[in-house]
């Protein structure tokens, strides 16, 4: 019923007076794409959040990211299980809120002093909290943001799709990212 791209008719497009509301929606991506984007990054960073304290599986995945050489900024206490598993986060003390503020500053040189990050991956956050931070980064920075939480995050540049009844599906998506890194 709906008009799709292939048709001869122009596509439907939201615009200002018709209540445009999100100008740039996250591209909902498959795990492989996430892996590709991360691989292309010059200075990637994984930021982990407080949900790692509630979901052991997320810790395991974060550890695997670290093993692939991606530096981790651990927030909200997520450094603790990571450290216990031998990961050395590049940041432990600052909140996601603070880090998001830092990332937007052109003078920020990263936690190691060698330059700001071009691609930031987010794992293990309360969805509403992450949503706000992604919005801030979307509007006020050029950083490529990737949300790989269980919820679709429209303000990210790339995001996993939404959660389902099946949490295993979600874990398998994370695993697929790692497998392709």
């Amino acid at each position: 019923m709906a008009v799709t791209k292939e048709e001869k008719f122009p596509v439907a497009k939201r615009f200002d007076i018709a209540d445009v509301q999100v100008s740039r929606d996250a591209t909902a991506v498959k795990p492989k794409i996430v892996a590709n984007v991360i691989k292309k990054a010059k200075r990637p960073l994984l930021i982990t959040g407080g949900q790692l304290l509630k979901d052991e599986k997320l810790v395991e995945f974060a550890v695997k990211f670290a093993e692939k050489g991606i530096p981790i900024a651990a927030t909200a206490g997520s450094s603790k299980p990571l450290i216990e598993k031998g990961v050395k986060p590049v940041s432990k003390t600052y909140t996601l809120h603070q880090i998001t503020q830092f990332l937007q500053d052109e003078e920020f040189k990263g936690f190691d002093g060698s330059g700001n990050y071009d691609t930031v991956v987010f794992l293990g956050f309360l969805p509403y909290y992450l949503s706000r931070m992604l919005s801030s980064l979307k509007h006020f920075s050029k950083i490529t943001t990737i949300a790989i939480d269980e919820f679709y995050q429209p303000h990210a540049k790339f995001s996993f799709t939404n959660l389902t009844k099946d949490r295993e599906l979600y874990y398998s998506m994370l695993q697929e990212v790692l497998d392709n890194l």
Partner: protein, 798 residues
Amino acid sequence: MFELKKGAFVVDELRNVSIHIGKIVEEEEEEWEEAGPTPKPGIIELRKWDHKLLERYEPFYAPMQDFCNLCTMGPCDLSMNKKGACGIDLKTAKARLVTIACCIGASAHTAHARHLVDHLIEEYGEDLPIDLGGNVNVEAPVMRTVVGIKPKTLGDLREALSWAEKEIVKVLHSVHIGNEESYFDYESKALHVSMADHVGMEVADIAQIVAYNFPKAEPNTPLVDTGFGIVDVSKPTIVVVGHNVMYARPVTDYLDEQGRLDDFEIAGLCCTAHDMTRYSAKAKIFGPIYYQLRVIRAGLADVVISDEQCIRADLLDACKKAGVPLIATSDAAVRGLPDVSEWPVEKIVDALVSGKLPGVFLPVPEKVGQVAPLVAEAVFRKHGGERKYKFFENDEQLMEEVNKCTQCMNCVFACPHSLRVDQGMVHAQKTGDLSKLAKLEEICIACGKCEQACPKNIKIINVIMRANYDNLYNKTGKTRVGRGPIQDTEIRKVGQPIVFGQIPGVIAAVGCINYPDEMKSIVEILEEFLKRRYIVVTSGCHAMDIGMIKDEEGKTLYEKYPGDFDAGGLVNVGSCVSNAHISGATIKIANIFAMRPLRGNYAEIADYVLNRVGAVGFSWGPYSHKAASIATGFNRLGVPVVVGPHGTKYRRAYIGKPWKKDKWWVYDIKTKQKINIEPAPDSLLVAVETKEEAIVQLARLCIRPNDTSAGRQIKLTHYIELHQKYYGDLPDDWPVYVRSEADLPLKQREELLRILEEQHGWKIDWDKKKIVDGPIRPYDAGFNPTLVEEVYAKYTKG
């Protein structure tokens, strides 16, 4: 001596002289203190101070929407920082929204104060003295500092109110399309109007304390019953909801007169509950805003009295469905109900009991006092005193409802907390076990959005509450009645240890209940600080939740920690408007301990607080505009505030960048130099996600440049310990707080010195175990920091 009051007079002895009295005759102001530079400040008087703060604590914006539709030239897509049709950019537009939010918050308290003051003057006269007890001489520190007045009577409060109203209107003016071009200046206005908010709060609370004889700065106020299960269900129950106690208070008076106080239960939701208990310790506290639907749907109320603020906008609807008559009292929330002010009491009672009217608007406190008990009793009798209803008639009904669920997950996507209602339902469907649903009750704020979204119209709240009914019913405990201000004598005692740092900090846990976690998390966080002998202050909804969480021995924090404003004390100041006593306490430290003059001397005081008073605000579950303006008002006063993750939805934070070395400096009055300092505190408004993060962030933000070595050592010890405990390692930033080896925690001193040497390149003299080179600045006992040029000039001249 005879007093001339209102009107025109002919003095008998003076023939042919009639004295015509001009409209405003200002009394010769008693010279209680030399007037400072900014009494009754307008928008720009403190702008310079704001810019000092804003340059350091840079505003951070997290837009909630990409567009603006505030005016009819829009909607405008402002995404990626585009400008709208009026020329505004996204940050400025967001700063404008924040300014509006703070105006609304400030208006709420100020109008609340105005209602109270006008009403109380009518009842008690404008000359009712402001007497806050023998230990409170600095009666109105906020008014003194901001407005520059020292109110002696109820009538004097009007001057502060008029100032606040004027400033709110001026700031609101500035959000009209076509005003500010700079988000800095909107932020300055938000800070300004939020400072006015603290004046409004102080007026309101002082007025009700003196008129209603609430506790006057007493540490040992009574403990009152708190929680869902507190009422004796065999008595008619009157439930009060809201924030302005003046409407419901006469209920107590009336029942007292009749000698029937014990025949009823009077229990409150939200701040009116606090204030009812401050008036009479026989009143009880059901809980905060998210207990409204819980209480009403559980059928616990026989009549509900609502006043203003933080009441559910579907209260009438909820009451109607539960068959509970509603009496709305405040003109702020008339709820479309008929005004029955002129009706005789019997007619009102009849209309409500018979159900002819589901509710009435009755803004006459005396009548409310009579109507409510009569209605409660009649309704109670009508129902035959039955109270077996527990959200569902019976278990079959409950399971019928549960079985309707198709796991479509609409509820999950609607829920502010993304609670997995679907999983709870399916588990119950398969196993009959309600425990997964019960677990949700601990986070659910009973907002009802899931029910709005559910295609099966399942009464999800009822299901969740019923699933956890026993626990819910067991949420009973004790709240220490709000005590109002902090005593001057208490300040005298703790002023120095706070300013020097030996009391490691004051944690002020205030605000709403939109927690990211189970309710008990607030208690876990605060107890960490109580055990470590920080001073913990609380108010409003946080203060209630604390009152219903018990430890294994059945004790609440109030029962375990004393109510003194002292190390290890847990101080409930009272309702939301009592928050002014917290800002007031920080001001009093500057005044009573450090002898800084208050009158119209805001910037100096705020600068003092920022550099010296290790107080941190904490709002674990902020949701309202009032919470926004309260926090922003604290910020202008130099008090950092930590918010729970929902607080990011306020869209703006103030977050400094500790790695920007040039941002962190002060003038040192002692050495007469501008010197670089440690970034302490490094944020003024920042969100945290977990309770672990809350704890660590609060501890680190207590550090102040002025800490003595002993003080810094204590603060750093706690910070490092807590960081290690919850984050598994030393803090990333601990070295920046080290000025000399004396700042280091005793037990870890050597280890830390070694780290400083090895990882940070500091020079250590290992013989003397002294730091030779490394710190941002050396410790100097006479260090006397300020950010304000005028303060610097004042104390360096001569």
